[in-house]
Amino acid sequence: MTHEIILSGFGGQGIMAMGKMLAEAGMQEGLSVNWLPSYGPEVRGGTANCSVLLSSEPIISPLVLEPTEIIVMNKPSLLRFEPQLVSGGHAFVNSSIIEIQASRRDITAFYVPCLDIAQELGNPRIANMVMLGAYIEVTQCLHAKTVEQMLAHLFTGAKAGLVALNKEALRRGAASILKAAC
């Protein structure tokens, strides 16, 4: 099993954090993992993307050139990375702000209104976790529980209150997929 994932969006949407969560959780489940950020002379509000590899085999090359999944949080990201998806790959589209649909017929797109759901939960910054919940629900690459348990380690002290919110965001993301499937 190998997942080659590209995550992309605006700086500030929690792209890097989402990727790190995936890598950390994958490692805890005994997978080989790699997280690679694109780095450059970035500006606030500019693009941010990173790649994550999760594999039951040792990871050889850290490059993700033909992703099996893309998680795109803004329109430029969809336009840029959809052509790179492998045939049969999955696109996870933040449909709250991306008004267009994926154009390829040989891939499967999942439209997750993650910003709307996050706002319903009272915190737009949690949209990335909603998306992560949807991603895990579809791919089953990890146990949602692993990510939930990590949250307790991540948010401690004054931030401990965020654990419940993040868990709820993950669940609502997963539920949005199940709802769409009905």
Binding site: K20, M27, V33, N34, W35, Y39, P41, I59, P62, L63
Partner: protein
């Protein structure tokens, strides 16, 4: 020990602290800024010194001072910054001072780009400073290997009293992988009786210098350095072979490029082409004999050197092979990584030309 997720730059800094490094002097430059950042936060926890110098030149000379006092010391930078340190590196080699220097290579020449590159191979292995000197150069390909080699780098520096370079690229610096902190194999380290750490009135004072006014003394010094270099060449060669046993096409690559070559090897093998990778880990001393033996096994039809440069290590590959094999080359310069598809094609082209 449990595995932990570490970013390359932070891992090399943590590995240095674990190896007993208590002095770090540096100056910021992308893509290695997390190294000084990590030290700035964590050196004080270990009663160590982190100092952001006013320039790279200042940083390397502060390292000279700390090493002269017998301390374990590190400095780090990326390509243009390492260029600025060359005078200091030559002086430390001349004064026989142990230091570990990290170069997270980026595109060049000049300011170049901030993307991953391997175009400082000449500078690292030939020396960008003046004089007959060598530095040990270690090139990890994974973050795990980088942490392991960091401990070794400090030991090698102390045993031979020589600067040791750890050369990686921006990608290894920026990415995160699992690290298992290992208990290093203890090596017998000599006492630093040469250090200028105070005579306490009990011995003659030590002098640390790279200056020998009398050319006869300087000649003797050079011969002694050469003996040391020979000793290092005998004992400190490191390399790894990947699926080389039956290979008909042999990649030679180091660091990140070697990993991408391994991906190309798997593609080639799926297509029925037997491919393998010879990966030098010590770039100096270069595994000349080991590469010669590997490349001259019965099945090897062609050798393909791949680098994120326009062709630098290929010189050492040619020297090692001594004309016994024709050497093909695939390179990307300026901060671009080769892709497995490009390397696969280059290998197929090389085989066709045989």
């Amino acid at each position: 020990m449990a595995k932990e997720l570490w970013k390359g730059n932070e891992a090399v800094a943590e590995a240095a602290i674990r190896a007993g490094c208590r002095f770090f002097f540096g100056y910021p430059i992308t893509p290695q800024n997390e190294i000084p950042e990590y030290f700035s936060r964590h050196m004080p926890e270990h009663d160590g010194v982190f100092l952001q110098a006013e320039s790279e030149v200042a940083a390397i000379n502060m390292a000279y001072g700390a090493a002269g006092c017998g301390a374990r010391v590190m400095t780090s930078s990326s390509s243009p910054g390492i260029s600025l340190k060359q005078e200091g590196i030559s002086y430390m080699a001349g004064a026989e001072l142990p230091v570990v220097i990290v170069n997270m290579m980026r595109g060049g020449p000049g300011l170049g780009s901030i993307a991953p590159a391997q175009s400082d191979y000449f500078q690292a292995t030939r020396g960008g400073g003046n004089g007959d000197y060598r530095t040990v150069v270690l090139a990890p390909a994974t973050i795990q290997e980088m942490t392991d080699l960091t401990q070794e780098a400090f030991d090698i520096a102390d045993i031979y009293r020589i600067p040791v370079l750890i050369v990686a690229d921006g990608m290894i610096g920026q990415m995160m992988e699992a690290v298992e902190w290992k208990q290093p194999k203890p090596r017998k380290l000599p006492k630093k009786s040469w250090a200028t750490d105070g005579t306490k009135g009990k011995r003659e004072h030590n002098i640390i210098s790279s200056l020998f006014i009398d050319p006869k003394d300087c000649t003797l010094h050079n011969h002694r350095l050469q003996q040391k270099h020979d000793l290092i060449t005998q004992h400190e060669i490191r390399f790894e072979e990947y699926l080389t046993d039956d290979a008909e096409i042999l990649f030679v690559a180091y660091g990140t490029t070697a990993r991408i070559c391994q991906a190309a090897v798997l593609r080639l093998r799926e297509a029925g082409v037997k491919a393998g990778v010879f990966r030098p880990i010590s770039l100096w001393p270069f595994p000349e004999k080991e590469l010669y033996d590997c490349a001259n096994r019965a099945g090897v039809k062609a050798v393909l050197c791949a680098e994120m440069s326009m062709g630098q290590m290929i010189d050492d590959v040619k020297i090692a092979l001594g004309g016994s094999k024709s050497v093909h080359f695939f390179g990307t310069g300026g901060g671009t990584c080769p892709t497995p598809a490009e390397l696969t094609k280059a290998a197929q082209d090389a085989l066709e030309g045989v």
